[in-house]
Symmetry: C2
Subunit: 259 residues, 2 copies
């Protein structure tokens, strides 16, 4: 397949955990352009997502943007979130609109609706608990980080409905920075994640499934103008309903956290 036939995909936050997974696993399939706020180990446009004018040229000629750039720590303060997550989200949607980009895939988070989980924990994570949250539950962030992701979703909906851009919000679970495929035992997880206990297993997303999820969002039918879907592997305790990801995007996870 020649380059001209492959979709031209811009990845923002290319140096981050998910960005690194995606640029390594999707490079055969798409024509990638990378955007990062500092040098990474391959060619990239270096610009800060909070600088609308600086990132704009990177959007020219792009078919689909994967917008990952963000402060990704759930404990981030407002001062840490405002520029990358709030201003950055606007800058990306606006740059995409101005450049005529067909679709933006926005990396949202289960934290945008995390209060549903907090309220139902810890029983929620028992294997015999049957509660599942659909992607239509109300936005109830469990953190300022989650509120910043909810805002990105709302902005995306506005850009989709007002400007006709296709916007797909993926509420991505936990992607480990380690280059693993198999789920690591709780002992191997970072302390934060270990403290999360069984929740970690419910939101785990393997590298392979992560790449499949974003590829599914890139390739989903052009008529899909707006969607919200959870993104986890096929875990034993599936708290966040994957049916939209399966039905609308054709995402089929192949990995599974151990129970």
């Amino acid at each position: 397949m020649v380059d001209g036939e492959r979709r031209r995909v811009l990845i923002t936050g290319a140096g981050g955990t998910i960005g690194t997974v995606l640029r390594r696993r999707l490079r055969e399939r798409y024509q990638l352009r990378l955007l990062a706020h500092e040098e990474i180990d391959e060619p990239a446009v270096i610009a800060d997502i909070s600088d609308g004018a600086a990132i704009r040229p990177a959007f020219e000629g792009i078919d689909v943007v994967l917008h990952l750039a963000a402060a990704a720590n759930v404990d981030s303060t407002w001062d840490q979130l405002l520029a990358p997550n709030v201003v950055g989200a606007y800058n990306v949607f606006e740059a995409a609109r101005a450049a005529g980009v067909r679709r933006v895939v926005f990396a949202s988070s289960t934290h945008a609706v995390g209060m549903h989980g907090v309220e139902a924990a810890p029983e929620l994570y028992r294997l015999d608990d049957e509660r599942v949250f659909s992607d239509e539950v109300a936005l109830r962030p469990d953190s300022l980080y989650g509120a910043s992701k909810a805002f990105g979703e709302i902005l995306g909906r506005y850009f989709s409905e007002r400007h006709g851009m296709s916007v797909i919000c993926l509420r991505v679970g936990f992607v480990s920075p380690a280059a693993n495929e198999a789920f690591r035992s709780p002992r191997e997880l970072p302390e934060r994640q270990r403290a999360a206990g069984p929740r970690a297993g419910a939101i785990w997303l393997s590298h392979r499934d992560c790449a499949a999820l974003f590829a599914a969002a890139i390739d989903a039918q052009p008529a899909l103008k707006w969607a919200v879907a959870y993104g986890t592997s096929d875990n034993p305790r599936q708290v966040w309903d994957l049916s939209s990801a399966r039905r609308l995007l054709g995402y089929h996870p192949r990995d599974r956290a151990p129970s």
Copy 2:
């Protein structure tokens, strides 16, 4: 009634249209403190809502905050909205939390869900159309202004659920700056509003009803930790459902736009 018994209410954006209506009509009922970004015709704390440190002292000793300060034009650009509506909303919730304020009443807007109306117009505004939108419809802003208001609602929900603060979001309709009680004929409305056509009559909120709405939110039972309600007068074509305002807040509009 002595001052010590009246609730201490801080009004942000006291110099704006709604702020002016409320400070004039609620001053007998509550002990008011006013916050404005520039001098107004009565004593006020002068500080910019986007400066968290500057507004903080105004929250000390306050029972309820009416947060009105915002860029209020539906056509506002992102640059006009970011400081007052986005950063300002965070600053107000955070200052209220830090000062132990019991309740924040946030002036949201029907524009936070305005796309439901856009989609259903113009038939929606016919007197024989029976569609009504509940306060539980998805956030679908019709503008960046609406998106900024939706963000304020989401932030408020986070502060309510995480910090135990009571937050009431009022999706306020159209309050005319003119000191009128009766609905003005379309000819007398500003050009923008005239262009909105029959929508103006559906979202009209008289000055008297506006004061009654905010007073109802101030006085609503302390156990009410989170609510979203539309705020219009008792108009002939009621597109936005007032039942939450009536049931949760005890709001009873007395005025009515002419059909």
